[in-house]
């Protein structure tokens, strides 16, 4: 069912879905064409790609959209849910009449088929849990699965993209083993330009072009201020979506920006707090 305009929620968190493929030629997603070409060339040359970037910049969504555009099967592994090394391949289940059986994961199935495997939030599981996939990702491209009693070989058409959020602010993450990190080529995704963000917001929510433009400007400015170490939190697309959603529901611009952006920052310190700085920035950008 189609979500009514103005009341929709961002289905994929920080997605950068746009109506038309932009400079990249990728339908439904904005990514600079140069960046896209580098990613594709890495993948088709047998390298794995690690996508990094601020939260909400579209790392996961990119994999899904790209695979769809190529007509490839795609599977996203939620790495944060991997509790033990064996969780990659399957689990033992008791079934009446059959007894305890090994149920393989879809990840295991996808390894032997052409398609894209997205190792989402790969640094949210403990480093020892990465050990079983180290051989899958190197030149051996195989792993012996005890439960199956055979080697599982990675299909030549199986491609890997991993995503991660790195930095001191991501408290639930682990530092990656260098051996694993070395198996990926890192590509950083950035926020889309202001005009793309504005168009996206205007198309997705019932906001005017002027309002969408202001929200986009605030988003990009706060993102730059994070890069300049003026703010402690990254800025992705999610606050922009939140602000647009509030605007779409009839809130004032001031309220939308205050709750969607400023409330994310600490107010400790009063006039010299981060929240004050964000409020001042918003004040400067809003006419």
């Amino acid at each position: 069912m189609e979500t009514p305009k103005g009341q929709g929620k961002p289905g994929r968190g920080g997605s950068q879905l746009v109506q038309r493929g932009e400079s990249s030629g990728l339908p439904g997603f904005y990514i600079p064409s140069g960046t896209l070409k580098v990613i594709e060339d890495f993948l088709f040359s047998g390298f794995h790609v690690m996508l990094s970037g601020h939260s909400g910049c579209g790392k996961t969504t990119f994999g899904q959209v790209w695979a769809a555009s190529r007509g490839m099967a795609v599977h996203k592994v939620n790495c944060g849910a991997i509790r033990s090394p064996r969780d990659w391949f399957g689990r033992h289940e008791f079934r009446e009449g059959t007894g305890t059986v090994f149920v393989s994961t879809r990840f295991l199935e996808m390894l032997e088929r052409p398609g894209l495997i997205i190792l989402d939030e790969i640094n949210r599981t403990a480093p020892e849990n990465h050990n079983p996939i180290l051989n899958l990702l190197d030149d051996n491209r195989e792993v012996y699965v005890e439960e199956l009693g055979r080697h599982v070989r990675v299909h030549p058409g199986a491609l890997f993209i991993a995503t991660r959020n790195a930095g001191r602010h991501h408290t639930g993450t682990f530092r990656l083993d260098h051996a694993l990190e070395d198996r990926f080529q890192e590509v950083r995704l950035e926020l889309p330009p202001e005009d793309v963000i504005a168009r996206l917001l205007a198309e997705k929510y019932a906001v005017s072009a002027d309002q969408a433009e202001i929200v986009a400007r605030v988003t990009v400015k706060l993102d730059r201020m994070y890069e300049e170490d003026l703010l402690s939190q990254t800025m992705g697309m999610r606050p922009a979506f939140a602000a647009a959603a509030l605007l779409g529901r009839g809130h004032s611009l001031e309220t939308a920006l205050r709750y969607a952006f400023a409330a994310r920052y600490s107010g400790e310190g009063g006039p010299e707090s981060e929240r004050t700085l964000v409020l001042q920035t918003i004040q400067g950008l809003v006419k």
Partner: protein, 675 residues
Amino acid sequence: MPANERRFAGLHRLFLNGRPGAAGPGGRPRGPGPGGDDDPCGLGPPLSAAWLPPGADFPAGENDAAEARGWRAILNGIARMAAIVYGSGRYRVLVDAAFDATGYDGKPRRRNGRLIVVSTEPVRRPMPGFSFYDAVDAMVGQVIHEAAHGREGREEEPFADDEILSLLHHLVEDVLNDQIVALEYPGFEGYLLKYRRYFIDWKLRGDWGFRAEGRLRQLVLAMRSTYPVRVTRRSVRRAHLYLLWILARHRTAEELRRVDRVRTAEELYAILYDSRFAEHTSELDVLSESLILGPDGPPVRGEKGNRRGGRNNASPVTRAALRRLNPPAFAWSDRALEAFSARRTKAGKTRSLGRWSGEFRHRAHPSGRRSAVSPEGYRRMCRLAEEVRSRRVAGEGVRYEAAWLREAPHAQAEARYRSAVEAVRGPILRLRNRLAWVNAGAGPDRIALTAGELDEEALYRAKYAADLFRRREDGRFRVPPLDLVLLADASLSMKEPLPGGDLPKYIVAQRLAALFVEALEPLAPIRAWVFSYSSAENRVELRELYAPGRHAGKTRIGDLYPAGQTPEYGALAAVSRFIREAGRPGVPKVYIVVSDGRPDDDILPRDAHIAAIRRLASRLRAEGDAVVHVALSPQRFGSPVYPVSLRFPEEGHAGLIRRFGLLVEALAAARAFRR
């Protein structure tokens, strides 16, 4: 609102001194304006209230630790605004020493970053009507302004040896940077306006504004003040409009960044000072503030009748447009500009013009600039201009229409006159005594002279004088009959202060007239007249301030007030004709012209004007009369206009009064007067 209109409205608000009542920052209507209850500053609600704690107020004392912490937090909050505009780690904000007690240290992120010094004066000495939030707004505006300078400014400092060009360059930078900030951060516009309201309108106008060179001061105030500024000079108005046109033509911040600021400053200089004959030409009336500010922009209409900034059928103000209106002036200024730029490029820097704030204040254009073209080129240009202008007026003949005005004195004229008399009471008494002694042939014997000055009178009165000297046969009185006329300049430039002080020149002229009248009043053989002259369009207005006989109302001298231009030739010619009728036949006439500069009006080119005065002075001299000029400002270039001139003394006001007294004494006693 279409983008064009929005842009022009913003321009109007920032640089056309949007009056209270026009749309304020953030699209909010401005309050009732200064003095109103709701919004005493006329700049909308305070902006810092959005992020300062509610109920913040001025500190009650400076020793309270908690209060110091609070202040430190506020100052840090203010200082961090620079980071929004300028970026992190490139600056260090310091506040003035008064806030050392708060422990604020500017949080330097990088020691070698740009230093931004913020004055806490708005908080310590708020202007009337300023709340705490308004004062913080003014400080924030200062931080933003300086941060914009840091981001947009260049490292090199052009025109370091030329104060006028340096100030013009700084003005261009201020204006462009403010516009860039307003485009990129429209919400900060209110801070900038509040900053300008305090530092330009409140502080600069009082402390600094009236010491600047006249045209420059008007231009700076016109561009930077948030109150309406009355621009009286056409060259200033053109410079003002030219700068606005540059702002309107460059629509984005990137375009504004590409504006050559050095070149713009030089162009402004050329408009202000080099286009000499364009200053007082009636054709340029079309260059009013109602001209449109861009080739395709809509007219901008402020509220409450403020229509400055737009008219439908006007063309944009460009140098090309100005050139069409007055080709000679701009041909000259273009050549001067090219030659000057070439010389700058060659020499690497401009010539030093010295300090301009004092002695250069009244020059038509700085003398150093005159050599921007060769002497031959300059003479050719002068000839060309004179020919063009003379041809234009030749058909009608050079004709001055003189209007004689004898108005009833203003209610406060007597008080003003008394004030002038009080100011020169000492010189009046001294001069009266000396003239009385001269007149009566008596006086105190001064034998023991210590200064080495020969007291001729005492020698005549000595017992052995008859054996030594042959007394002159001068009849009953020693003072010969004489008709003396004081002609005081009442042009607008007389509003400017006398060099070396803050006293307006017209006040000094009042004092000279008071000294003249009061000192000569007891001398029956001498009849004195005082007139002031100015112009309204092509008409010379002569006001009779004092005349002997039944119209001897001295108090009208207190009504001497500047307005219009300096039609010196027309005034002198009309007065000499009048005195020929009103004066005593056979009695020599002396015309004392008190003026502050070179003659200038709408009828004759300046050079032709000066030549006419010289011809008139020669004719009067041939008839047995004399013309003496008393200068209220130093003459920096050119040959003197009058054959006899009392040059402006180095001592300033005191020296002027003293030397004027000596002149009157010399004239009255016929001692130094050589016909």
